[in-house]
């Protein structure tokens, strides 16, 4: 009889790990609390830097994990350690004895309304990067539909690298996502002025720098180095953004038809409850703490518990997939060793 491997979270990390484990002849069980697989990426439209449709990636993974046991709309009710395995009770009443638990709970999107000065949820024409991505997907958002879009702004680092928001971590993907979304908006509204307000630009990934240069050179997107201080609403419903241009050394004020807040990644809301069930450690940023951040990023401090993807900190899609494959290999090795 094959050992059970419970994967907590059916995002791209969980599905990629399940795909690899199936190929290795193992028995992954995916437990996903929402009603669909794919996590945050399933709601995304295109992925940087090649504008790959997110649906291609997610669709491919769903197809590849068809043989796995998958529980949707299901949460972990409790989990406890047995002698050499874990007893897991699911919210649907099913109980599973698993040799290995792979945690792929991912992240939560920072609640942009906490940055009150930006007016999300207060001013009509303020949205988040997730909202915009959904509009790219379904073309339905009253903030854009029926509005003459002549000027759009993107605010980087919303809830990231922000001590006031109690999040010191960089979310890694917001800079390049803002560049991607700015280009997409420019493609849809060629005559619109598009601004990006940034602290600094972290273009660390493959082709990121090219993408950023293209945004300036080919699309005329204006990058303003300085944080936005406040957002307010005009009598006609447009938003007024005040910021400091730290390169020019002067304050700037622009009136926009749409303001997009690049909400960052914060630890998943379920992180602390799952950690509490089996005494896993979490880091100061609330994400799960790896055994070692260099050599053992996918290992926890407890035997048979592994991590993959953004449950240990903000990750890009390629990093998440690579970690999932790495975790699958480690699990295969662990089961054979045991």
């Amino acid at each position: 009889m094959k050992d059970n491997i419970v994967i907590v979270g059916g995002g791209i990390a969980g599905m990629e790990a399940a795909r690899q484990l199936l190929r290795m002849g193992l028995n992954p069980i995916i437990v996903e609390k929402s009603d669909h697989l794919g996590g945050h990426v399933a709601r995304w439209h295109r992925l940087f830097p090649d504008m790959t449709p997110a649906s291609e990636l997610v669709g491919g993974l769903i197809e590849a994990t068809g043989q796995a046991n998958i529980f949707l709309n299901t949460e972990i009710s409790f989990m406890n350690r047995l002698k050499d395995s874990y007893n897991i009770m699911l919210s649907n009443g099913v109980s599973v004895i698993a040799k290995v638990v792979l945690i792929t709970t991912g992240f939560s999107v920072f609640d942009a309304s906490k940055k009150e000065e930006y007016g999300y949820g207060v001013y009509d024409q303020v949205m988040t990067n997730s909202d915009l991505e959904q509009w790219f997907n379904n073309g339905n958002d009253s903030r854009i539909d029926g509005t003459e879009i002549n000027a759009v702004g993107f605010v980087h680092c919303v809830g990231s690298r922000d001590e006031k928001a109690r999040n010191s971590q960089c979310s890694k993907v917001c800079c390049i996502t803002a560049v991607k979304q700015a280009i997409e908006m420019k493609q849809k509204f060629p005559d619109a002025a598009v601004y990006c307000f940034y602290m600094d630009l972290r273009m660390f990934g493959k082709k990121y720098e090219d993408f950023y240069i293209s945004a300036q050179r080919d699309y005329g997107i204006r990058f303003i180095r300085g944080r936005v201080s406040e957002v307010s609403e005009n009598i006609d419903g447009r938003v007024i953004v005040k910021a400091e241009d730290t390169l020019a050394g002067k304050p700037v004020k622009v009136t926009l038809d749409l303001l997009v807040l690049m909400s960052g990644m914060v630890c998943n809301r379920d992180c602390s409850s799952i950690a509490g069930m089996i005494s896993l450690q979490t880091d100061s940023d609330g994400f799960f703490k790896s055994r070692d951040n260099i050599s053992d990023i996918i290992c926890s401090s407890r035997e048979g518990i592994y991590y993959a993807g953004a449950c240990t900190g903000p990750k890009t899609v390629p990093e998440t997939l690579a970690e999932a494959r790495s975790a699958a290999l480690e699990i295969f090795s662990y089961i054979n060793r045991a």
Binding site: S113, G121, V122, D124, E233, I235, I240
Partner: protein, 356 residues
Amino acid sequence: MIYQGKQKIWADYQKEIPDDHWFYVRSCIRQNFFPGAERMFLEICRNVLGKDFYETEHHTTCGGIAYHCDTIPQETVMTIVARQFALMTEAGYENYVASCITSFGNYLEILETWHEFPELETRIRELLWKACRREFKKPKYIAHASDLIYKYRNEIAEKAKFRLVNRRTGEPLKVVEHIGCHYSKMFPSKGVGGAEYPYVLCGMIESWGGSVIDYPERRHCCGYGFRQYHVKANRGYSISNTHKKFESMEPYHPDMIITNCPGCPYFMDRWQYVIAEMEGKTYGQNGYGIPVFTYEEVAGLVLGYDPWDLGLQLHQVAVEPLLDKMGIEYSPEDKYKGLNKKDLMRPELPGVLKCC
């Protein structure tokens, strides 16, 4: 504008405000700027609502203006404040309410500093003892006086003789609310409604029948800003700030402005005259300005007090257009008569800004 979004934020920033037994400290400048405001606060709290509010003539300035102008060190301000707390302790109170926004912010900043650096509190206690042989307990609650009127706003509304409603049209008056910078920008959790969308004045306006205007420069400084006005070379910044606010609120056609700071009503009132002289521009209807009030004056008006007993004749911008809208009767002949009908003499009328 999504009103429910603001309500959600307001719900997050509600603070505990005891109902009664307060040690009240006046502002060092408000009695010169708007002499009826503080008297009306005590009148409403003591005589209309029957609350216990104590004040002492031994109270002094909190040192806030000097502190913010960088002319005295922080230890000096702390010792002055320690003495105020000693007066409260000696009077047997533990709830401390300040009339001045800067004092309110000053007290909060000092208490927070002492919380973070207890050795500094110990040193200030020693300095106070050496200076005047006094000891103190820290207040259990600190409030700004506008917090109290906010708390009592519905009781005031029940007793109101007038509402913030245009008697002719039946429409709510359009009200600009302006919050003093030191109310909650330093400590958002200490202000009703937080720092970005404070509710303390909005609550009064809504309770008394008016509608609140949210205009783009709502958060902007009134133009007082100690280092703008008190440094003579910077006074151009002061009036340019005020000008920016009026230009921003103009399209909304406000009927009135309510503030909760000593400096804000003064500068928003007086600079309208200067802007009119410099630019030839006025912001109210028919050449008048937009009348500016303290929240105590507005509370007094809705409760039916005589406008001239509230000191409204000392405003630069004429209040009569607003009184007419609210349906408040007043005697033009008595406008410049003081106590016992003493003649205060009529001021010279401005050249551009229309006044009564």
